[in-house]
Protein backbone atom coordinates (compact mmCIF):
# COMPACT_ATOMS: atom_id res chain seq x y z
CA UNK A 1 0.00 0.00 0.00
CA UNK A 2 1.58 3.28 -1.13
CA UNK A 3 1.22 6.23 1.23
CA UNK A 4 1.96 9.82 0.23
CA UNK A 5 2.54 12.64 2.69
CA UNK A 6 0.26 15.67 3.03
CA UNK A 7 -0.32 18.36 5.63
CA UNK A 8 -3.12 18.36 8.17
CA UNK A 9 -4.17 21.89 9.08
CA UNK A 10 -6.26 22.11 12.26
CA UNK A 11 -8.15 25.31 13.08
CA UNK A 12 -9.96 26.00 16.35
CA UNK A 13 -12.10 29.11 16.27
CA UNK A 14 -15.49 30.70 17.07
CA UNK A 15 -18.55 28.79 15.84
CA UNK A 16 -19.85 32.04 14.34
CA UNK A 17 -17.12 31.82 11.70
CA UNK A 18 -18.00 28.34 10.39
CA UNK A 19 -19.66 29.49 7.18
CA UNK A 20 -17.15 32.26 6.41
CA UNK A 21 -14.04 30.17 7.10
CA UNK A 22 -15.19 27.08 5.21
CA UNK A 23 -15.93 29.24 2.17
CA UNK A 24 -12.53 30.93 2.49
CA UNK A 25 -10.51 27.71 2.76
CA UNK A 26 -12.16 26.28 -0.34
CA UNK A 27 -11.42 29.46 -2.23
CA UNK A 28 -7.78 28.94 -1.21
CA UNK A 29 -7.68 25.42 -2.64
CA UNK A 30 -8.95 22.97 0.01
CA UNK A 31 -10.86 20.07 -1.60
CA UNK A 32 -12.66 19.23 1.61
CA UNK A 33 -12.82 19.77 5.35
CA UNK A 34 -14.14 18.21 8.55
CA UNK A 35 -15.81 20.15 11.37
CA UNK A 36 -16.39 19.12 15.00
CA UNK A 37 -18.07 21.13 17.75
CA UNK A 38 -15.65 22.15 20.49
CA UNK A 39 -15.15 24.27 23.59
CA UNK A 40 -12.00 25.42 25.30
CA UNK A 41 -9.87 28.15 26.72
CA UNK A 42 -7.16 30.41 25.36
CA UNK A 43 -5.94 33.98 25.20
CA UNK A 44 -9.49 35.24 24.76
CA UNK A 45 -10.71 33.42 27.82
CA UNK A 46 -13.03 30.50 28.43
CA UNK A 47 -15.37 29.50 25.62
CA UNK A 48 -17.72 26.98 27.27
CA UNK A 49 -20.12 26.38 24.35
CA UNK A 50 -23.11 26.97 26.64
CA UNK A 51 -24.64 29.04 23.85
CA UNK A 52 -23.85 29.97 20.26
CA UNK A 53 -21.72 33.03 21.10
CA UNK A 54 -19.42 31.02 23.35
CA UNK A 55 -19.11 27.91 21.16
CA UNK A 56 -16.02 26.83 19.24
CA UNK A 57 -15.53 24.66 16.18
CA UNK A 58 -12.55 22.53 15.23
CA UNK A 59 -11.85 22.40 11.48
CA UNK A 60 -9.46 19.91 9.87
CA UNK A 61 -8.12 20.18 6.34
CA UNK A 62 -5.91 17.60 4.64
CA UNK A 63 -4.07 19.23 1.75
CA UNK A 64 -0.64 19.83 0.16
CA UNK A 65 1.88 21.78 2.27
CA UNK A 66 1.65 24.82 0.00
CA UNK A 67 -2.13 25.03 0.31
CA UNK A 68 -1.94 24.53 4.08
CA UNK A 69 0.51 27.37 4.48
CA UNK A 70 -1.47 29.62 2.14
CA UNK A 71 -4.63 29.02 4.19
CA UNK A 72 -2.78 29.48 7.47
CA UNK A 73 -1.32 32.78 6.29
CA UNK A 74 -4.68 34.05 5.01
CA UNK A 75 -6.55 33.13 8.20
CA UNK A 76 -3.86 34.69 10.40
CA UNK A 77 -4.02 37.86 8.36
CA UNK A 78 -7.79 38.06 8.40
CA UNK A 79 -8.87 36.75 11.82
CA UNK A 80 -6.12 36.65 14.43
CA UNK A 81 -6.56 40.27 15.56
CA UNK A 82 -10.28 40.07 16.26
CA UNK A 83 -11.30 36.48 16.80
CA UNK A 84 -10.59 33.59 19.11
CA UNK A 85 -8.58 31.38 16.76
CA UNK A 86 -5.57 29.07 16.75
CA UNK A 87 -4.23 26.83 14.05
CA UNK A 88 -1.51 24.24 13.77
CA UNK A 89 -0.06 22.02 11.04
CA UNK A 90 1.13 18.43 11.17
CA UNK A 91 2.35 15.75 8.76
CA UNK A 92 -0.01 12.99 7.69
CA UNK A 93 0.06 10.18 5.13
CA UNK A 94 -2.86 9.51 2.79
CA UNK A 95 -3.82 6.75 0.38
CA UNK A 96 -5.16 8.88 -2.46
CA UNK A 97 -2.76 11.83 -2.95
CA UNK A 98 -4.75 12.98 -5.98
CA UNK A 99 -7.77 13.51 -3.74
CA UNK A 100 -6.18 16.05 -1.41
Amino acid sequence: MSLESRKLLTIVTEAALEHEVTVEIQRLGAHGYTVCDARGKGGRGVRDANWSMSANIRIEIVCPAATAEAIAAALKERYYDNYAMILFLSDVEVLRPDKF
Partner: protein
Protein backbone atom coordinates in the same frame (compact mmCIF):
# COMPACT_ATOMS: atom_id res chain seq x y z
CA UNK B 1 -49.93 37.16 43.64
CA UNK B 2 -46.19 36.89 44.36
CA UNK B 3 -44.24 40.10 43.80
CA UNK B 4 -41.94 38.16 41.44
CA UNK B 5 -43.48 35.93 38.80
CA UNK B 6 -42.32 32.31 39.06
CA UNK B 7 -40.71 32.50 35.62
CA UNK B 8 -38.49 35.27 36.96
CA UNK B 9 -37.57 33.07 39.92
CA UNK B 10 -36.21 30.56 37.40
CA UNK B 11 -33.90 33.28 36.13
CA UNK B 12 -32.71 33.97 39.66
CA UNK B 13 -32.19 30.23 40.18
CA UNK B 14 -30.01 30.04 37.08
CA UNK B 15 -28.15 33.22 38.00
CA UNK B 16 -27.42 31.98 41.53
CA UNK B 17 -26.37 28.53 40.33
CA UNK B 18 -24.09 30.15 37.79
CA UNK B 19 -22.48 32.53 40.25
CA UNK B 20 -21.94 29.67 42.72
CA UNK B 21 -20.37 27.63 39.89
CA UNK B 22 -22.91 24.86 40.45
CA UNK B 23 -22.72 21.65 38.35
CA UNK B 24 -25.65 22.88 36.26
CA UNK B 25 -26.02 23.45 32.54
CA UNK B 26 -28.74 22.79 29.99
CA UNK B 27 -27.47 21.11 26.81
CA UNK B 28 -26.98 23.75 24.08
CA UNK B 29 -29.39 21.78 21.88
CA UNK B 30 -32.10 22.32 24.50
CA UNK B 31 -31.37 26.03 24.73
CA UNK B 32 -31.73 26.26 20.93
CA UNK B 33 -34.96 24.29 21.11
CA UNK B 34 -36.46 26.56 23.78
CA UNK B 35 -35.48 29.61 21.73
CA UNK B 36 -37.19 28.19 18.64
CA UNK B 37 -40.35 27.47 20.65
CA UNK B 38 -40.43 31.00 22.10
CA UNK B 39 -39.86 32.68 18.76
CA UNK B 40 -42.55 30.62 17.01
CA UNK B 41 -45.02 31.00 19.88
CA UNK B 42 -44.63 34.79 19.97
CA UNK B 43 -44.95 34.96 16.19
CA UNK B 44 -48.04 32.74 16.16
CA UNK B 45 -49.76 34.77 18.89
CA UNK B 46 -49.01 38.00 17.06
CA UNK B 47 -50.21 36.58 13.76
CA UNK B 48 -53.52 35.44 15.21
CA UNK B 49 -54.10 38.93 16.62
CA UNK B 50 -53.03 40.50 13.34
CA UNK B 51 -55.61 38.41 11.50
CA UNK B 52 -58.23 40.32 13.50
CA UNK B 53 -56.80 43.73 12.53
CA UNK B 54 -56.93 45.98 9.47
CA UNK B 55 -53.29 45.90 8.40
CA UNK B 56 -53.45 49.36 6.83
CA UNK B 57 -54.32 51.01 10.13
CA UNK B 58 -51.06 49.66 11.56
CA UNK B 59 -48.74 51.02 8.88
CA UNK B 60 -48.19 54.52 10.36
CA UNK B 61 -47.50 52.96 13.78
CA UNK B 62 -45.07 50.52 12.24
CA UNK B 63 -43.17 53.36 10.58
CA UNK B 64 -43.02 55.19 13.91
CA UNK B 65 -41.60 52.08 15.58
CA UNK B 66 -38.96 51.60 12.89
CA UNK B 67 -38.01 55.27 13.31
CA UNK B 68 -37.46 54.66 17.03
CA UNK B 69 -35.33 51.63 16.15
CA UNK B 70 -33.12 53.90 14.06
CA UNK B 71 -32.95 56.95 16.33
CA UNK B 72 -32.35 55.24 19.67
CA UNK B 73 -29.01 53.65 18.68
CA UNK B 74 -27.98 56.93 17.04
CA UNK B 75 -28.68 58.65 20.36
CA UNK B 76 -26.85 55.98 22.37
CA UNK B 77 -23.70 56.10 20.21
CA UNK B 78 -22.28 59.48 21.31
CA UNK B 79 -23.02 58.64 24.94
CA UNK B 80 -20.99 55.46 24.60
CA UNK B 81 -18.19 57.23 22.71
CA UNK B 82 -17.81 60.30 24.92
CA UNK B 83 -19.32 59.18 28.20
CA UNK B 84 -17.80 55.73 28.10
CA UNK B 85 -14.71 56.61 26.14
CA UNK B 86 -15.31 53.45 24.11
CA UNK B 87 -13.67 52.70 20.77
CA UNK B 88 -15.78 53.45 17.70
CA UNK B 89 -16.52 49.80 16.92
CA UNK B 90 -17.47 48.98 20.51
CA UNK B 91 -19.74 52.03 20.83
CA UNK B 92 -21.41 51.19 17.50
CA UNK B 93 -21.92 47.54 18.45
CA UNK B 94 -23.38 48.31 21.88
CA UNK B 95 -25.65 50.96 20.35
CA UNK B 96 -26.94 48.32 17.92
CA UNK B 97 -27.66 45.90 20.77
CA UNK B 98 -29.78 48.51 22.56
CA UNK B 99 -31.51 49.72 19.41
CA UNK B 100 -32.69 46.17 18.78
CA UNK B 101 -34.87 44.02 21.03
CA UNK B 102 -34.81 40.96 23.29
CA UNK B 103 -37.34 38.23 22.68
CA UNK B 104 -36.84 36.86 26.20
CA UNK B 105 -37.61 40.22 27.80
CA UNK B 106 -40.69 40.63 25.62
CA UNK B 107 -41.85 37.14 26.63
CA UNK B 108 -41.40 37.94 30.33
CA UNK B 109 -43.44 41.11 29.89
CA UNK B 110 -46.18 39.13 28.13
CA UNK B 111 -46.14 36.66 31.04
CA UNK B 112 -46.17 39.58 33.52
CA UNK B 113 -49.30 41.02 31.91
CA UNK B 114 -50.80 37.55 31.65
CA UNK B 115 -50.42 36.90 35.39
CA UNK B 116 -52.19 40.18 36.08
CA UNK B 117 -54.82 39.58 33.39
CA UNK B 118 -53.91 42.90 31.76
CA UNK B 119 -54.96 43.04 28.09
CA UNK B 120 -52.61 44.35 25.37
CA UNK B 121 -52.69 44.84 21.62
CA UNK B 122 -51.47 41.49 20.28
CA UNK B 123 -50.06 43.01 17.11
CA UNK B 124 -47.13 44.33 19.15
CA UNK B 125 -45.36 41.12 18.15
CA UNK B 126 -45.09 42.77 14.74
CA UNK B 127 -43.13 45.62 16.33
CA UNK B 128 -40.82 43.01 17.82
CA UNK B 129 -39.98 41.83 14.32
CA UNK B 130 -39.65 45.36 12.96
CA UNK B 131 -37.32 46.45 15.78
CA UNK B 132 -34.98 43.51 15.33
CA UNK B 133 -33.36 44.78 12.15
CA UNK B 134 -32.88 48.55 11.76
CA UNK B 135 -30.47 48.87 14.70
CA UNK B 136 -28.15 46.32 13.11
CA UNK B 137 -27.84 48.42 9.98
CA UNK B 138 -27.36 51.58 12.04
CA UNK B 139 -24.66 49.87 14.07
CA UNK B 140 -22.73 48.79 11.00
CA UNK B 141 -22.95 52.24 9.46
CA UNK B 142 -21.78 53.81 12.72
CA UNK B 143 -18.79 51.47 12.77
CA UNK B 144 -17.91 51.52 9.08
CA UNK B 145 -19.38 54.68 7.69
CA UNK B 146 -21.51 54.46 4.56
CA UNK B 147 -20.31 52.21 1.77
CA UNK B 148 -16.64 51.91 2.64
CA UNK B 149 -16.13 48.15 2.33
CA UNK B 150 -19.42 46.97 3.76
CA UNK B 151 -20.80 43.90 1.97
CA UNK B 152 -24.41 45.07 2.13
CA UNK B 153 -25.60 42.02 0.24
CA UNK B 154 -24.12 39.53 2.68
CA UNK B 155 -25.29 41.73 5.55
CA UNK B 156 -28.87 41.96 4.33
CA UNK B 157 -28.88 38.18 4.04
CA UNK B 158 -27.40 37.87 7.52
CA UNK B 159 -30.01 40.20 8.99
CA UNK B 160 -33.15 39.28 7.07
CA UNK B 161 -32.54 35.53 7.13
CA UNK B 162 -31.31 35.25 10.69
CA UNK B 163 -32.91 32.63 12.90
CA UNK B 164 -35.01 35.01 14.99
CA UNK B 165 -36.45 36.97 12.06
CA UNK B 166 -37.31 33.84 10.09
CA UNK B 167 -39.06 32.15 13.02
CA UNK B 168 -40.89 35.29 14.18
CA UNK B 169 -41.98 36.14 10.64
CA UNK B 170 -42.88 32.53 9.93
CA UNK B 171 -44.92 32.33 13.10
CA UNK B 172 -46.64 35.61 12.28
CA UNK B 173 -47.58 34.43 8.80
CA UNK B 174 -48.82 31.03 9.95
CA UNK B 175 -50.82 32.60 12.76
CA UNK B 176 -52.17 35.23 10.39
CA UNK B 177 -53.20 32.67 7.75
CA UNK B 178 -54.58 30.13 10.20
CA UNK B 179 -56.23 32.51 12.61
CA UNK B 180 -57.12 31.38 16.12
CA UNK B 181 -59.18 28.50 14.73
CA UNK B 182 -56.38 27.21 12.54
CA UNK B 183 -53.81 27.54 15.33
CA UNK B 184 -56.01 25.78 17.91
CA UNK B 185 -54.66 22.26 17.19
CA UNK B 186 -51.06 23.33 17.86
CA UNK B 187 -51.98 25.59 20.79
CA UNK B 188 -51.25 22.93 23.44
CA UNK B 189 -47.58 23.09 22.51
CA UNK B 190 -47.13 26.73 21.54
CA UNK B 191 -49.64 28.47 23.84
CA UNK B 192 -50.31 26.27 26.90
CA UNK B 193 -46.63 25.44 27.44
CA UNK B 194 -45.46 28.99 26.71
CA UNK B 195 -44.80 30.04 30.31
CA UNK B 196 -43.21 26.72 31.23
CA UNK B 197 -40.88 26.93 28.24
CA UNK B 198 -40.12 30.51 29.17
CA UNK B 199 -39.23 29.40 32.71
CA UNK B 200 -36.67 26.89 31.41
CA UNK B 201 -35.35 29.46 28.96
CA UNK B 202 -34.86 31.94 31.80
CA UNK B 203 -33.09 29.29 33.88
CA UNK B 204 -30.54 29.00 31.09
CA UNK B 205 -30.44 32.79 30.61
CA UNK B 206 -29.54 33.08 34.29
CA UNK B 207 -26.64 30.69 33.83
CA UNK B 208 -25.43 32.62 30.78
CA UNK B 209 -25.87 35.99 32.50
CA UNK B 210 -23.76 34.71 35.40
CA UNK B 211 -21.04 34.01 32.86
CA UNK B 212 -20.90 37.73 32.09
CA UNK B 213 -19.99 38.66 35.67
CA UNK B 214 -16.24 38.43 35.12
CA UNK B 215 -16.10 40.63 32.02
CA UNK B 216 -18.46 43.01 33.80
CA UNK B 217 -16.01 43.28 36.67
CA UNK B 218 -13.21 43.90 34.20
CA UNK B 219 -14.98 46.55 32.15
CA UNK B 220 -16.27 48.34 35.14
CA UNK B 221 -18.87 50.77 36.25
CA UNK B 222 -19.79 52.59 33.07
CA UNK B 223 -21.41 49.52 31.50
CA UNK B 224 -23.54 49.01 34.61
CA UNK B 225 -24.74 52.61 34.64
CA UNK B 226 -25.41 52.59 30.91
CA UNK B 227 -27.08 49.18 31.15
CA UNK B 228 -29.62 50.62 33.62
CA UNK B 229 -29.99 54.20 32.36
CA UNK B 230 -30.38 53.35 28.67
CA UNK B 231 -33.39 51.02 29.08
CA UNK B 232 -35.12 53.54 31.35
CA UNK B 233 -34.62 56.29 28.78
CA UNK B 234 -35.80 54.02 25.96
CA UNK B 235 -38.80 52.95 28.03
CA UNK B 236 -39.73 56.59 28.53
CA UNK B 237 -39.68 57.06 24.75
CA UNK B 238 -41.72 53.89 24.35
CA UNK B 239 -44.28 55.08 26.89
CA UNK B 240 -44.62 58.33 25.00
CA UNK B 241 -45.09 56.47 21.74
CA UNK B 242 -47.69 54.22 23.35
CA UNK B 243 -49.56 57.30 24.49
CA UNK B 244 -49.37 58.80 20.98
CA UNK B 245 -50.61 55.56 19.44
CA UNK B 246 -53.39 55.38 21.98
CA UNK B 247 -52.29 51.97 23.20
CA UNK B 248 -53.83 50.35 26.26
CA UNK B 249 -51.88 50.24 29.53
CA UNK B 250 -50.77 46.71 28.65
CA UNK B 251 -49.75 47.70 25.15
CA UNK B 252 -47.85 50.74 26.39
CA UNK B 253 -46.03 48.64 29.00
CA UNK B 254 -45.11 46.16 26.29
CA UNK B 255 -43.88 48.79 23.83
CA UNK B 256 -41.81 50.45 26.56
CA UNK B 257 -40.33 47.05 27.45
CA UNK B 258 -39.57 46.37 23.79
CA UNK B 259 -37.59 49.58 23.37
CA UNK B 260 -35.94 49.11 26.77
CA UNK B 261 -34.75 45.61 25.91
CA UNK B 262 -31.35 44.88 24.38
CA UNK B 263 -30.71 42.11 21.87
CA UNK B 264 -28.62 39.02 22.63
CA UNK B 265 -29.59 36.75 19.74
CA UNK B 266 -29.67 38.50 16.37
CA UNK B 267 -27.38 41.46 17.01
CA UNK B 268 -24.38 39.76 18.65
CA UNK B 269 -24.19 37.29 15.77
CA UNK B 270 -24.48 40.02 13.13
CA UNK B 271 -21.99 42.34 14.84
CA UNK B 272 -19.47 39.53 15.31
CA UNK B 273 -19.30 39.08 11.55
CA UNK B 274 -19.84 42.64 10.33
CA UNK B 275 -17.87 44.55 12.98
CA UNK B 276 -15.13 42.07 13.99
CA UNK B 277 -13.05 44.61 15.91
CA UNK B 278 -15.92 45.21 18.35
CA UNK B 279 -15.34 43.25 21.55
CA UNK B 280 -18.40 41.03 22.14
CA UNK B 281 -17.54 40.75 25.84
CA UNK B 282 -18.48 44.42 26.29
CA UNK B 283 -21.85 44.38 24.55
CA UNK B 284 -22.90 41.04 26.08
CA UNK B 285 -21.83 42.08 29.57
CA UNK B 286 -24.09 45.12 29.25
CA UNK B 287 -27.09 43.53 27.52
CA UNK B 288 -27.03 40.11 29.24
CA UNK B 289 -25.25 40.93 32.46
CA UNK B 290 -27.03 44.17 33.34
CA UNK B 291 -29.98 45.17 31.16
CA UNK B 292 -31.71 41.79 30.84
CA UNK B 293 -31.80 41.17 34.62
CA UNK B 294 -32.71 44.80 35.29
CA UNK B 295 -35.61 44.71 32.84
CA UNK B 296 -37.20 41.48 34.05
CA UNK B 297 -36.64 42.16 37.75
CA UNK B 298 -37.25 45.92 38.04
CA UNK B 299 -37.87 47.39 34.61
CA UNK B 300 -41.13 45.75 33.58
CA UNK B 301 -43.02 46.57 36.81
CA UNK B 302 -41.59 50.09 36.56
CA UNK B 303 -42.70 50.54 32.95
CA UNK B 304 -46.10 49.21 33.98
CA UNK B 305 -46.48 51.96 36.63
CA UNK B 306 -45.28 54.49 34.06
CA UNK B 307 -47.93 53.33 31.60
CA UNK B 308 -50.68 53.54 34.22
CA UNK B 309 -49.50 57.01 35.19
CA UNK B 310 -49.51 58.37 31.64
CA UNK B 311 -52.94 56.83 31.07
CA UNK B 312 -54.30 58.70 34.06
CA UNK B 313 -52.81 61.88 32.65
CA UNK B 314 -54.22 60.99 29.25
CA UNK B 315 -57.65 60.11 30.56
Amino acid sequence: MPTLDPVVLFFLLGLTAGLLRAELRLPPAIYDFLTVLLLLAIGLKGGVELAAHPFGALLPRMLLVVLAGILLPLAAYPVLRRGGGLARADAASIAAHYGSVSVGTYAVAVAYLGYRAIAFEGYLAVFLVLLEMPAIVVGIVLARGLGRGVQWGAMAHEVLLGKSIVLLMGGLLIGWIGGSEGVAPIAPLFMDLFKGVLALFLLEMGLIAAGQASSLRRHGLFLVVFGVAMPIASAAVGTGMGWVMGLSVGGTTLLATLLASASYIAVPAAMRLSVPEANPALSLAASLGVTFPFNILIGIPLYHRLAEFTQRLGG
